[in-house]
Structures are given as C-alpha cells and as structure tokens.
Symmetry: D2
Subunit: 289 residues, 4 copies
C-alpha cells in the first residue's frame, strides 16, 4: 500500500546566513554531480538576513551513492554555515496517527493514504479510546489503545515513545488527539508532530473554540495545522483555512462545518511535510509550495 | 447622483419573543394592505427563544399612506412585543465617511457610490487630516478637516456631532479612521457606525494587526466590518473576509493585500446595512443576505 | 446507523404562478394546524412570474396526522395551482451510490454517512467494476457488481432498476460513475439522480475535462454537482466549486486536486437534496440554503 | 506619481530547451557579476522538454553597466538557445488604458496607481466614448476619445497605434473595452495587451456572458484576465477568479457582483505583468507569483 514515486529525487532543505552566490554554489554542486534540478525555490528574509532554499533534483547515477552525496554536501554546507536536511523521494516516512473520539481526520488521512495520495507508511494508530479500532483494522493498520489519566500520563507517554521508537516512526499526526503532550515527547519529535487546531489561530486559542466563535458571532470559522511545541497552540503554523458561517449556524453546525475544514487543512499540511516542503525557523515556517 | 430603485418597497426588520403564528400574522398584515411580499426571511434563535424577521414588500397603493402603514404595524407589533424598524427603499439614507491617512476605502466607497452601487447620499467626508480633500472634491462631496489632539478630542467630537446633525446623517462609515470615538458619539449613532478593522477579529485585536500577523506567521490575513461600540474591536460583526499570505510576504505586502480585503469587506457590510438587512441583538448580528 | 433528527418537522417545497398573499396563505395554513414555522424561505422569479417557497415547520400534534395534513394542503395547493412536495425530517430516504473505478467520492459519502452527517440510509453500492466491494463491506452496505458493455447496456439497466425498486431507493448518487444512463432510467428517477461532473460546467463539457483544462492553461479548475438528464452535462446545477491551479500542475496534479473538490461539492449537493432544499424548474434549480 | 522601488533589481525571464546545469549557469552568471539573487523561480515542462526561469537580482555595481550586463547575458543565452527578456525594476513601463462605457476597471486601476500600487506610468486613457474624460482628468491622465464605427475601424486603429507609438506605450490594458482589435494592433503589442473577460473562460466565450450564465443557472460566476490574440477569448490566461451566485441573483445582480471580480482579477494580472512575472508559451502562461 506504499506510495510509489516515478523515479527517485533528492530534496535538500537548507537555511543559512544570507550571502552572495548561494544559489550558484548549490546549483553548481548539483551540476557537478551530473544531476538535474527539477524544482528550486528560495526565500530570503531580508530583515533577519537569513537565506532559505529547497532544491529537488533527479539522482541519476548518484542514486547508488547517497552516502557520498550526503558527505559531499556536508562539506559545502559547512563552508556556508548551513542548517540542512537531505531526504529522498523513495524513502517512505513512517507515520503514526493519534486520535481521541472524533474520527473524521483519521478517516480522511487513511482514505487518502489508501488512495495513494500520501507518500508515507501509516504504521500505527494510537488512541486513548477504543472507538476507532475497527476503522484502523479496515485499513490494515495496528491500533494501540493507550488510555491516559492524570496520574498515568508520564508512564503512558513513555509507553507510546517506546512504541514509536520500535516502529521507527518519523512523523506523528495529532488528528484531533485531545491530550497534551509532555516536554519529553515534544522534544523527541521536534518539528515532527503536526497538530490540527479547530480554530483560526491565534483567535480562540485553548478549549471550546467553536462555542466561543458562536458566542462572538464571527462570520467565518477556521482551522490551523501547526507543529506542536511546549506552548499549546503557539507552534509554527503550516496551513490555515476558513469557511463562512452565519447567524443560522448553531454550535453544532459550526462543529459540522469545521470537520470538513479540519480534514482539508490537516491533509494539506501533512502533504507539505511529507514532500519535504516545510522549513521551521523561530516560531514560523517557510512552506515551499 | 442618488441611487434610484425601480419601484419603492417597504423593509420591515423585527425581533420578538418566539411564539406560534408570527410568520402568518406578519404575512397576513401585508396581505390585508393589498401589498405583495417580494422577499421574506426569518430566523429563530431556539436557545434564546427569539424570533427575527425581515420582510420586504412592494407598496402599491400604500405608497401614499406610509404614516398609516406605520401606525397599523405599530399596533400589531405591540401585541407581540416586537422591536421593529420600518424603512422604505426610496428613502435614501445620508452617509458621512470618516477617514484618516489611508484613502483606499474612501476611494472605493465613493467610486461605488458614483457608479450607482450604494443606495445612499454621501453628504460629508470627515477627516483629521487634509490629505483627501481633493478626492472628496472630485466626487462633489464636502470635505471637513477636523484635526484631533488629545486635548481637543471632546470639543472636536461635539463639532462633528453638530455637523452630522445639521446634515441629518443616518450612517457613519469609519473608512480607516484611526481615532477612538467617545461614548456620547457611539451612543448617538448606536448601530449606525460601521468600522473596518484590519484583522480577522478576534485575532489581533488592537493596534498593528498586520505587523503582529507577520510576527506570528499566519497563513491567512483577514478584515472585519463591525458596528462600533464603546468596547474597541468588540462590536457586533457584520462581515469578514480573508486572503492567503505566505512567508514571502513582508509586513508591507500584508498591508497591500489587506487593502483589497478591507475595501471589499467594508463595501459588503455597508450594502447590507443600506438594504436594511442587518439586525443587531446582544453583541451579534443577524444578516439577512 | 441511520441519522436521527431531534424532533420531526415537515418540509414543504412549492412553486406556483406569483400572486398576492401566497406567503400569508401558507403561513396561515401552518398556524391553523397549530404548528410552528421554524424556517421559511421564498423566492419570486419576477421575469417568469413564478413563486417558490420552502417552509419547514415542527409537527406538534399533527405528527400523528400526516395523511390529514397532506390532504388539507392539497386542497390549498389546488386553489393556487401549486406544484408541491411534502416530506418529513424523520422519513429517512434510501440511497444507492453508483461508482466506477475512482472511489474517493464513494468513500467520502460513506464516511460522512457513518459519522451521522447524511440524513439517509445507504442501501446499495452499484458498480460496473469489482474494485470497491471491500469498502462497501467495511461500511456494511451491499455491493452489486453489474458490468456494462455496449451490447448489454439496456439489459443491465433493467437489472439495476429492478434492484432499486426492490430496495425502494429514493435517490441515486453517481459518485464518478462513468456510464451514460438511458432515458428510461433518467425518467424513472427524474430529479432524483445527482451526478458529479469533474469540471466547472459549462466549461469542458464531455470527456477528459482535466486534460482539456490543462491544455487550455486555466488558473482555476472546478466541479459541478447536477441532476442527471437525457442531455449529458446539461442537467440543473445544484452546486459548484473551484480550486486554484498553476503552470506547475500536471494533468495528474489537476486530477488529484480535483478529487478533493469533487467530494466536497458532491457532499454539499447531496446534503441540500436530503434536507429538501432543492427545487428544480426548467433546467435550473432554486437551492434554499 | 510614479512608483518608486527601494533599490533597483534586474528581472530575467527566460525559456529554453531543458538540459542539465541551467540553474547553475544562470546563478553563476549572476555571481560572477558580484550581484545578489533576491528571487529565483523555475519550472520545467517535462512533457514539452522546456525550461522556464525568472531570476531577480540586485544590481549593485552593475547598476551603471546595464548595457554590458545585457551583452554578457546575450552571450550565455545563445549557447543555451534561450528566449529571454531583461527588465529593470526602476524602468517604469508606460501604460495606456482602453475603456468603453463601464468605468469600474478604469477607476480601480487609476486609484491603485495613484496609491502607488502599480509600478507604471499611466500616460493615456483611450475610449470610443466620451463618458470617462472627467475621471481621467481627476487623475491627471490625457483622455483620447476615438469613436469607432464599422467603416472607420481600420483608420481609427491606425490613429490609436500612432498615439501609442508617440507616447512610447509598453502595455495596453483593455479595461472593459468593447471593440475587437485588428491583427495589426495585436501583432504590434503581442503579449502586451491585457484584456479582462467577464466570464470564467472557456465557459461563456463571446457576448453576454452574464445573461448566459444566468440562463444556465450556474452557482459561480467568473472573470478571466488574458493576453489578447487574434482569436477572441482564446488568448493565454494570466489570472481567473470566481464568486458565488444563487437563484436570487438577476442578470443585473450578476453584472454587479461581476464588477468587483473583474476589477480584482484585472488588477492582479496587471501587477503580475508589471513585475515581469509572466512568461507566455504557446497559448498558455507561466506566472511566477
């Protein structure tokens, strides 16, 4: 059920202090390898003096010399003080989806995955409830019910971390998982936990956003996909969306309309991440779309 | 330059405690007058037990008996404890537009007005700056430059209120007017002052919303048109809009993109108000669109 | 798995030659029954002189006298030459979903249905391919594989019609069903077959719309949900949506982006139909939303 | 009233047969000049085997050696069989706006221009009607009323071409100009005439698109900005937009809603063109946004 890419490409995500000739040096590096750039995008934050780039190139003969490729780039990176990450389109990341009671995002992700639209392997569904075992089973994914109470939080989190380590999970998706994650967890999966918040952040941070949006009488509701950090609802935003509402909509209607929004926004954010299109800097993201 | 409606209609906006037969009684009232309902829309807030309705009907022979019409409806309204407002499509409201330095909303409103798209008479442009006198002149509207300083605020506000009274102004539009209005002012024009806030409220309440949106790294920016109240940025929301932004956008880009949004959202809100489509209750609105 | 409405309401959809007092007469009819109107919406096509209305009212004591209710309204309807349809919110329509190879709309509809978002009973999935039997099984719906070839079309269509009759199907959803339906079929389910076309009709009528959109270099692609008629792609439009594309998108990318659009647009159209919000007249629709 | 860019940049738009090392060669060229790339974007049409690129770089010391810059790039371009265009951000293009009776797009463009949002000089308004002379005058732009009848078309077009040549016009904007342009005209301003069509092309090509959209009962209407070619409504599309409509909207309502759409879509297309972001190939565009 894994996603198959036509021919493998390398994706380079990098950032460094801005200086002249960066584009040329990276492009030249690729050319010297006799590889072909298929996409290149860059951005300079003039204020902060930081250069960001995403370069995707077909591997050609370097396909079998990935370690060498990595070593050679490391040398270049050092001379420019780059922070960088190299990934390959045929290395399929392993994903765990966390869910509580609302199953719409889980369902949507699994259906997209089965339809070949998500370039990953979903290896586990983790939940503090038993509700979605049947769904996970239908898609052939192992379901781990791990209930959490205030007293057991730390222990359970260690259990989950152990599970994720065993499964070599690369990315955690919080698909309406209603538990706060501890610092250890966030630290282990820094910039590798995508959460969907059911509001247009920073509006309605915290709990019950639909009820509060209804109370305020807004004419649009939103959803926000972001990397989870220690500060709840303050992580780097990857993607946002909104939809129109009116006085006719009850809180329940907002919840219903919000579901479609949450699934769409989360799926777009996950796709960006899996395609190695997201760079985090500070508490913001650069999304090369 | 006034807007001309094909044939006059009456617009009834009402709210009252919910009870059976309200639609029938109002419809029957119109029928007994031998008038014809051309639009009717209603809403019940089940939780609060409040009924809201907008009925628009062609006047026919009642065109010459508007006072009688009003008296007869007052009688019905009393039996149902209705709050209500009756207006006529050919009674063109008088409008004053307030502006500070940014002229885009002023320009847009005046251009729409000249193009016959706003059913009102713009009788005054009020500003604490001289910048837009030329523009007002081009559209044939009197320009009142009334500078405001901390010491002169109360006096100047009285000057403005006097001016608006003389001009019989029905609606005040704050088209990026960067001065806070006092309680007296707000009270005099309760639910008749439309402000455009350059953020997706309640996100980025207060000053410098674009700078703060940039700082937070949001992927959408918004604009909100609302009735001004004593609580800054807390008034009943009439209309909202958003537009996509990315890491490429500087604060200046957000300001530029925001301009188009602000003009569009404000113009929609003003049109709703002028067409008697907005009912305020509590700190929310019902917009019959 | 059926959808449960809090307390039953009647939904009246009607159209007739425009005349004074129609709103009053219908509202009075409801009042005389001691029922309470919870929603009422109307529209007059001034040019054609036709009046359209949707009235939803709580049944109260009339809940047990539905036949009487229907008879009494029939009498009123006759005096006004009304075309009308009465339905009840607790009468759950039976639905058959038709699908060929692309399963995304089928999946989405079944997931929404299971989540309680579609007020219907899905009683059959019909396909000319075996691909989605497993999915239907997961949701507990019978799967009918009925292959169609040019020579067998008429026979197979009769087989399907017989099946739908046995299952008492009220609504047929063509969820990317790539077979043309014959006149008999369309006639039997007049205004009860919803098709999703993968273009923004009337642009790119006919086959391969994404390839043709790519060829033309459009900057937006669309999807259209409409009632199926004898004239392919010419049926009354219920709902449309669009999404942005660019020169970067290959035909395959358009297909992928189009999927999300198709599922969203089809689901909205189906919800409008199930809530008795759609009136067809001529080759257009009135959607009371 | 001209637009002022902070510090001048060069913008290179190029296309050529795809081959390895193109990004490197162009980036290296810029580096050798001791210039700094501030934006670079590229696209490869894999099917057609064509490479497209937009590179923007700050000029630094090359600011005073633009001819040399151009010569040196010409040499590189020849070795790669490139089609290319070099422009500088401080070379303000001269623009003529053509208009017939509907003035909303003209108004919007002039207001944006005055607000410093359009990097051009508007040097002429051309019209076959006298209606907008006053508006042009308000913005200090010469107004040329040049009526066109079937018999005078060829002569008048020559008159206009002469005028544009005298004014050294770089770009013609057809802001709802309702006259067909001859082959000579189109040829002279190949890919330098931007037209706004009031439909979502290719739907409703030709005349009366709003009336036909109303007749068809669509739920969205659109607008399309494209380069004018000999084939009416078939030119390369630069930008498109849509807005929702319903059964409530008369043809007049569509026209009114369409105005906002037309102004917004046309303004975006003009901004893309002025920023040297649009490459035409075949009958399509690459828009580097």
């Amino acid at each position: 059920m894994a996603f198959v890419e036509p021919s493998p490409t390398a994706r380079l995500l990098l950032s460094c202090p801005d200086q002249k000739g960066l584009v040329a040096r990276v492009a030249d590096f690729v050319w010297q390898l006799d590889c072909n750039i298929v996409h290149a995008d860059q951005h300079t934050d003039a204020e902060a003096g930081v250069f960001f780039q995403r370069v995707e190139f077909s591997l050609g003969a370097m396909n079998d010399k990935r370690a060498e490729l990595e070593d050679r780039f490391a040398a270049l990176a050092q001379t420019c003080s780059m922070t960088w990450r190299l990934s390959f389109s045929d290395e399929v990341p392993k994903v765990a989806i966390f869910v509580s009671r609302y199953g719409h995002c889980l369902y949507d992700l699994l259906a997209r995955w089965r339809a070949g639209q998500l370039a990953c392997d979903v290896v586990a569904v983790v939940s503090n409830w038993p509700d979605h075992a049947d769904t996970a089973g239908h898609f052939g994914v192992a379901y781990h019910e791990i209930p959490v109470t205030d007293g057991t939080r730390a222990t359970q989190e260690r259990t989950i971390l152990k599970l994720l380590a065993e499964q070599q999970v690369d990315l955690v998706i919080l698909a309406r998982y209603m538990q706060v994650l501890g610092e250890d967890f966030v630290d282990t999966f820094r910039n590798r936990i995508i959460n969907i918040h059911h509001s247009f952040l920073p509006a309605f941070k915290g709990g019950r956003p639909y009820a509060r949006a209804h109370e305020r009488g807004v004419k649009l509701i939103g959803a926000t996909a972001h990397y989870a950090t220690e500060d709840l609802d303050e992580g780097p935003i990857i993607e946002q969306g909104v939809t129109a509402v009116s006085h006719r909509d009850s809180v329940e209607d907002l919840v219903l309309k919000g579901r479609d929004l949450e699934t769409a926004v989360l799926a777009r954010a996950v796709r960006f991440h899996l395609a190695a299109r997201v760079l985090v800097y500070g508490h913001k993201t650069v999304v090369f779309d």
